[in-house]
């Protein structure tokens, strides 16, 4: 037997789009196989069909030599397919072992399970304490819980949909170690990511999708990241153009800002200070969960801070809510797209109204101007190349990356004086990420000030003039990005955030 998974002519259509169109490829046992493609190319849809979450319209699958058509994830798991989703499905108030047990069909007694978790997790270099509360874990550790949950089923095929977008570089390295070990033992891995360098180091085979069709398959190690990206897009890739920017006056000043945690398990912000000039991009690095969400919430006005802590163009705005801040030119784009930056069940037009009414004439005497709102939504879709049948579509029907483009576009097109973005390119494909970065740079070139909060250090190096690190709710003093070395950044970030790889 040479092939573990073989797929032929798999097709799945949604209203207005064909998400997968006659897709075929195969994976050998022990192979680490990448699925590449732009946002909306159909990667998630494809793996959801393999995992039994979505039913194909037509096409066949064979798994371990047998015809395979899982009716639901349980059937897929029984056959030996496991999947780690980008969004974790864990309960914060339960501990690790309890969370693992919840995902199992017939969990063994708790004590035995805890022992198994400890064994498996150390065997694969993913140390986990079964008794710890999930709420206290970092994103990387939470992902370990998901992975260990999968490994307990002894899968033959492990599917990972954008597993590294929430991980630090150190955590990524640990994860890769584990995946290589699994692969050496014969477990095949189907790996989706937009980070092409990672794919080049990890994967031996790749299938590239464009608009639902397989356009190429290759060995990613024999290609450059640029070539891979161009295969995905089907065109040449632009390099971001970092035009010379003139720095203006200080527009945003934060001093001595402290904030209580947003949630039971969140960090507090501790005595933050920063200054931002017109035309400048400040990059704030650090692992998500160290106050990134809190910083955005307090700057956007969702969680106003104590008086005198935030001033915009010399005016104290600390007490103002989101809409007065928008009126004054301070806009924000949170990282959680569904449910925070956008309302999942509402149309893109309605989602344009969500934040657009203060700076765009979308209302008249308080009454919504549907025509103007639709025009604005169409403008965003056009300018940011959002792939969707139209502005009437509900936000939740967009692929992750496309919704992200929409959310960023909505704020950028409102001509902010200051724009705060959190993880602006999470889950966005290489080409689209480049265009989002370019949009942020263009915005700054026009004289706006930008705060980009991101875990992607390369991204921050690419667009920002100055760099600060946010760690455990504390913001380091900023330093010019030019000439900053990786070691210096590492020092600023305060090490690997307490994550160590166990000796394997």
């Amino acid at each position: 037997m040479t092939e573990l998974l073989k797929i032929d002519g798999l097709t799945k259509a949604y209203p207005g789009v064909v998400a997968n169109d006659g897709v075929g490829f195969s994976v050998r046992p022990g192979e680490v196989h990448a699925l590449l493609g732009e946002n909306g190319a159909g990667k998630s849809t494809l793996v959801k069909m393999i995992y039994g979450l979505v039913k194909p319209d037509s096409g066949t699958m064979h798994f371990a030599g047998q015809s395979f058509a899982p009716a639901d994830p349980r059937a897929a798991r029984a056959a030996g397919v496991a999947m780690v989703f980008q969004h974790f499905s864990l309960f914060e108030a339960l501990n690790v072992a309890e969370n693992v047990a919840l995902g199992m069909e017939n969990p063994p007694p708790m004590r035995q399970l805890a022992k198994r978790i400890r064994e498996i997790s150390t065997a694969y270099g993913l140390p986990l304490d079964p008794a710890r509360l999930v709420g206290d874990l970092s994103a990387g550790e939470r992902q370990r819980v998901e992975i260990v949950r999968c490994l307990l089923q002894d899968p033959k095929l492990l599917i990972m949909d954008e597993p590294t977008s929430v991980l630090t570089p150190q955590e990524v390295e640990i994860l890769f170690h584990t995946l290589r070990k699994l692969s050496a033992e014969g477990t095949a891995i189907l790996y989706i990511s937009h980070k092409l360098e990672e794919i080049r180091t990890l994967c031996e085979g790749a299938t590239i999708l464009r608009a639902g069709k397989v356009v190429a398959s290759c060995n990613p190690r024999e290609k450059t990241a640029r070539e891979l990206a161009e295969l995905m897009v089907g065109a040449e890739l632009k390099v971001t153009d970092r035009a010379e920017r003139k720095l203006g006056d200080v527009v945003l000043k934060v001093s001595g800002l402290s904030l209580a945690p947003l949630s039971q398990f969140g960090p507090s912000l501790k005595d933050l200070s920063l200054e931002l000039r017109a035309g400048e991009v400040l990059g704030i690095g650090g692992v998500a969960g160290n106050g990134q969400e809190e910083l955005l919430a307090t700057l956007s006005g969702e969680r106003p801070s104590a008086l005198g802590t935030v001033s915009l163009m010399g005016e104290d705005i600390s007490g103002l809510g989101p809409n007065p801040r928008r009126a004054k030119g301070l806009l924000a784009a949170p990282e959680e797209r569904l449910g925070h930056a956008a309302v999942p069940a509402m149309s893109l037009t309605e989602n344009a109204i969500l934040t657009g009414t203060m700076r765009k004439p979308l209302t008249r005497n308080g009454f919504v101007d549907q025509g103007a709102a639709k025009t604005f939504a169409d403008e965003i879709i056009q300018a940011f190349d959002v792939r969707t049948p139209g502005s009437h579509v509900a936000a939740r029907a967009l692929s992750g990356g496309n919704l992200q483009k929409y959310v960023i576009g909505r704020e950028v097109l409102q001509n902010p004086a200051v724009l705060v973005v959190n993880q602006p390119t999470w889950g966005v494909d290489a080409a689209a990420a480049a265009s989002i970065r370019q949009a942020l740079l263009d915005l700054a070139a026009k004289g706006a000030a930008v705060i980009a909060i991101s875990q992607d250090l390369d991204e921050l190096m690419e667009i920002s003039d100055r760099f600060s690190a946010l760690n455990e709710g504390r913001l380091s003093a900023s330093r010019p990005t030019q000439g900053l070395t990786i070691e210096e950044i590492g020092m600023m970030l305060g090490g690997a955030h307490g994550m160590q790889e166990a000796a394997v």
Binding site: A71, N323, V343, L354, T363, A394, A397
Partner: protein, 359 residues
């Protein structure tokens, strides 16, 4: 095997079709219920749905239709605003009583005034009574995070007791020969909410209900405030991001429900009922919850649902009278309507798929 598949975009078609389906299912299930009670099912359904409109004494009953539908529509419009925001005001019945008490108190206090200002002043006081009663759960929720569901519901029982006390005590008719109940406002020209067109049942409360429908439509579906209210119900975090202040939302959601319910109480006590008695309230505040959902929390839907519910009230009365159906059976019948509506609602957001999938 039957599976539910989530629709990416809620179905427009089913959001209109489910109320109709619910009505039909209720007729069938209700018919079975009536049959078990030993009544002829088709006959019973006809008495409830057909006779009030087209039967022998229909001309009298058609007027009653507006009298009953008016308060239901008025209250449901106010409730819908709160429900859209995810604020569950279950206590409209209490707010309705308080509106009646406030306005009747003013009228009786001024007795026997002859003034054009009395009726408008009663309207204001009616709305105020309901509004203030609704502010109790609102303020408690904002300050202490109490559940508005429990508090507003409990306040219904407080209001009912207050009503009884008033009917037997302070507001009792001094010339009533010891009978409980206040003076009858129908005999008090300045305070009487008379029929506007003879024989139609159309009184100021019905006009107010129509205005409420138009107002609620403008607010919820045209104005930015209504948009934000809907966002708050869908995604609270996105609402905060859009500038919604949760405390204000709670005040608005409960306040509007309370004020509209209070108005309904005012028009009722000054018109069709005429009197503060201990049995003044007949459950409009609770039935309006069904009306609000049956109407998809949409004002036009509420208008239609209000008329339909009014019909089941009148038809139910007739069925009691003519077929001897117990009143509880009629209430079960009305409850079924809400039950089926919520059940069929699944179709709006999910697609049903039949057939076994080869494993």
């Amino acid at each position: 095997m039957i599976t539910l598949v989530r629709r990416p975009t809620p179905s427009q078609f089913w959001s209109y079709a489910t109320p109709l389906l619910a009505v039909i299912a209720t007729m069938i299930a209700g018919g079975i219920l009536f049959a078990i009670l030993g009544k002829h099912p088709v006959e019973a359904i006809r008495v409830i749905f057909w006779d009030p409109l087209f039967g022998g004494n229909a001309s009298y009953f058609r007027g009653q239709l507006l009298v009953k539908a008016g308060p239901l529509i008025l209250i449901a419009c106010g409730l819908a605003v709160g429900f859209r925001a995810g604020i569950w005001n279950i206590g409209a019945e209490g707010q309705y009583i308080m509106g009646a008490l406030f306005s009747a108190w003013l009228a009786l206090k001024m007795y026997p005034a002859e003034s054009h200002w009395l009726f408008p002043a009663m309207i204001v006081l009616g709305a105020l009574g309901g509004f203030l009663w609704a502010m109790i759960p609102a303020v408690l929720k904002v300050l202490f995070g109490t559940s508005e569901i429990l508090v507003s519901l409990m306040l219904v029982y407080v209001a009912e007791n207050l009503l009884a006390y008033m009917a037997f005590g302070p507001l009792k008719n001094p010339e009533g020969f010891g009978f409980p109940g206040s003076r009858n406002l129908q005999d008090y020209p300045s305070a009487f909410n008379h029929e506007l067109i003879e024989g139609t049942g159309m009184h100021w409360g019905v006009v107010a209900a129509l205005i409420a429908v138009i107002f609620t439509y403008g607010l919820m579906h045209r104005h930015i405030t209504g948009f934000r209210i809907r966002v708050a119900g869908e995604a609270p975090r996105a609402a905060r991001f859009a500038g919604v202040i949760p405390a204000r939302l709670v005040m608005l959601g409960l306040g509007m429900g309370g004020a509209f319910a209070g108005l309904a109480g005012m028009f009722e006590v000054s018109g069709p009922s005429g009197q503060i008695t201990d049995s003044f309230n007949v459950g409009y505040g609770f039935t309006a919850i069904i009306v609000a959902f049956l109407g998809r929390l949409h004002p036009i839907g509420i208008l239609l649902a209000g008329l339909l519910m009014a019909l089941t009230y009148i038809g139910g009365d007739m069925a009691q009278l003519m077929l001897g159906l117990p009143s509880a059976a009629i209430q079960v019948f009305q409850g079924m309507l809400l039950f089926f509506l919520l059940a069929f609602d699944v179709l709006t957001n999910f697609r049903i798929r039949f057939g076994r999938v080869a494993a």
